[in-house]
Symmetry: C2
Subunit: 337 residues, 2 copies
Amino acid sequence: MSDLKPPSFVSAQMVADRAGVSRSAVSRTFTDGASVSEATRRKVLEAADALGYHVNHLARGLRERSNIVCLVVADMTTPIRARMVDVLTRKLQASGKITMVINTETDTESVSAALRQTLNYRADATVVLSGTPPASLIETCLANGQQVILINRDERLQGSSNLGVDNAMAGREALFLLRRAGCERLGLITSNAHTASLVEREKVFVAAAAAEGVQVVVTEAGPTSYESGQEAARRVFGRSEAPDGVFCVTDLLALGFMDVARQDFGLKIPDDLCVVGFDDIEQAGWASYQLTTFRQPLNPMADEVVDLLLQPQRAVSERRMIEPIPVWRRSVRPGKH
Amino acid sequence: MSDLKPPSFVSAQMVADRAGVSRSAVSRTFTDGASVSEATRRKVLEAADALGYHVNHLARGLRERSNIVCLVVADMTTPIRARMVDVLTRKLQASGKITMVINTETDTESVSAALRQTLNYRADATVVLSGTPPASLIETCLANGQQVILINRDERLQGSSNLGVDNAMAGREALFLLRRAGCERLGLITSNAHTASLVEREKVFVAAAAAEGVQVVVTEAGPTSYESGQEAARRVFGRSEAPDGVFCVTDLLALGFMDVARQDFGLKIPDDLCVVGFDDIEQAGWASYQLTTFRQPLNPMADEVVDLLLQPQRAVSERRMIEPIPVWRRSVRPGKH
DNA sequence: ATAGCGATTGCACACAAGTGCATTTTTTCG
DNA sequence: CGAAAAAATGCACTTGTGTGCAATCGCTAT
């Protein structure tokens, strides 16, 4: 009773001993397509079950691929990021991968550290959702046979697989929707994050407006969040000439903007003010908001990621672009026909 | 130029060869407190840098602890879960652990599969946020030296460390708030998930009301979500005797409930109807809702988890209870003094 | 100069798996 | 029944680490 050895994982050797076979037999039992007789197989499985044996995937990963995929992500509480992580972990799991999440800041140093962790754990691939890693580190990953997949990141990094939504299309379409609704004084709300995606949406929107001879008042608030949207609205409607149509580069910004516009400035949406967002987070569809926005097609994006993982040779660096899906709700007046 | 060998990870041996030292020297260079002269150390670091060497944590995990912690979670898109995952990954990382996320359904079979994966990857510990694993499997984990930490789960499982918020307190306090606001006809909205936490909040609320001689109409909607809250509101206000004070066992339910109550039934909150939620998700604080609710103290909970990991002997099964923090907002009338 | 001593270093093993190859065992077929 | 083919098995090596142990190196003190 007194010999309490510290509990530890049971190895294939122990199973072999108990079943009265060689360790190879145990290994073969748990390897698809290996040659084991039904008799020994049964003995092994029985012993394994009795001892609570589980194949050590770390040891397996020593020889071949580890089946580990790292997800580098910041701002995980953001609804859109949470959904991305959810969808990706789901799909990766379904294709036999396991996900390691590295929760990082967006600054380069944090992302670099994250990427190095990724190498430490011999991940088959790293999927970067936030921040932009330095090119040299990406090269190191590639040199080590690790795939790097960047989602909605700056596309100038060579060697990595790039994947993102068509921000330009959203910018153009946002303008079209607001103009069709009869908006004359346009505004654009963005954050101080200056992500490539955000910047592109902004640029294209402003350019498209300029092409129609319409000016856009650009307001830059704090980080990408509900509160920043509120702050932006207070600034925008505190000025003399208030807009009657606004494109917020993110749903979260849009929702904060809407709340302040309605509650603090008494505006009716869409009668006095039309709002367009981007992402189609769950809350955009809530009854209080009914925000017209662009859905990031997360499932197709995740499918694409899995596809890239399974066929690494496809990963030759040109950027795969996915069309966002316009979602018409009530925050924009319908066009008159 | 033509010998393009497939890229693969660089090992300590390669570094040793390049630096002209033994592999042990390389290993010691990257091990704290090991004995290496400054000269070889420099040579090794230089070679490692040139080759892009990174210690293989999987191989390291073969001998000692893996530093891997598995997070078993369902419904990751739910704001409260997203925050939990965020906080946990952050804190675990800060204490030198890496997080594997297993995204599962809540049914026992899925959770079991997840737990087995956990064993396959030799995780030091498994943290279960959703679903309830069978006791036998928990025993297997423990027998293999793996800690099991259940958060907000049913507390009857022995051997595991249990950790959760004080649901009873929330139930009592919710009743107190609604009664103080002068509510006479009480309602409780719950989902069909029947989690131990949800059930306890419900039971205590109903019991506390009974103790005051007040009846509670309990409405059970679909899964725990905004839509279920909407559905519940339609049912509740379609009936003859509508409540003037409602406790929703979850913020998401509460927000859906509020939207329908206001927009479809023209009720004013808190004048015609008081609402109390639970979780304090970000949206509960948004201007459109201003929901009075109970905050789950996620940071202290995560600290507790990390604490349990670092001092495994403390993990002796009694349930650690954390007080939720009441957050007073405008969805409940203040009491009259 | 040489013994003594502490700091380095390398060998060899352990960790837990998968697998090529040679060796048995079983099955099949003449 | 016996030979050939097929299937099953075990040995030994591989993967990349960390580390105990013994050997070596460099330095100091006698």
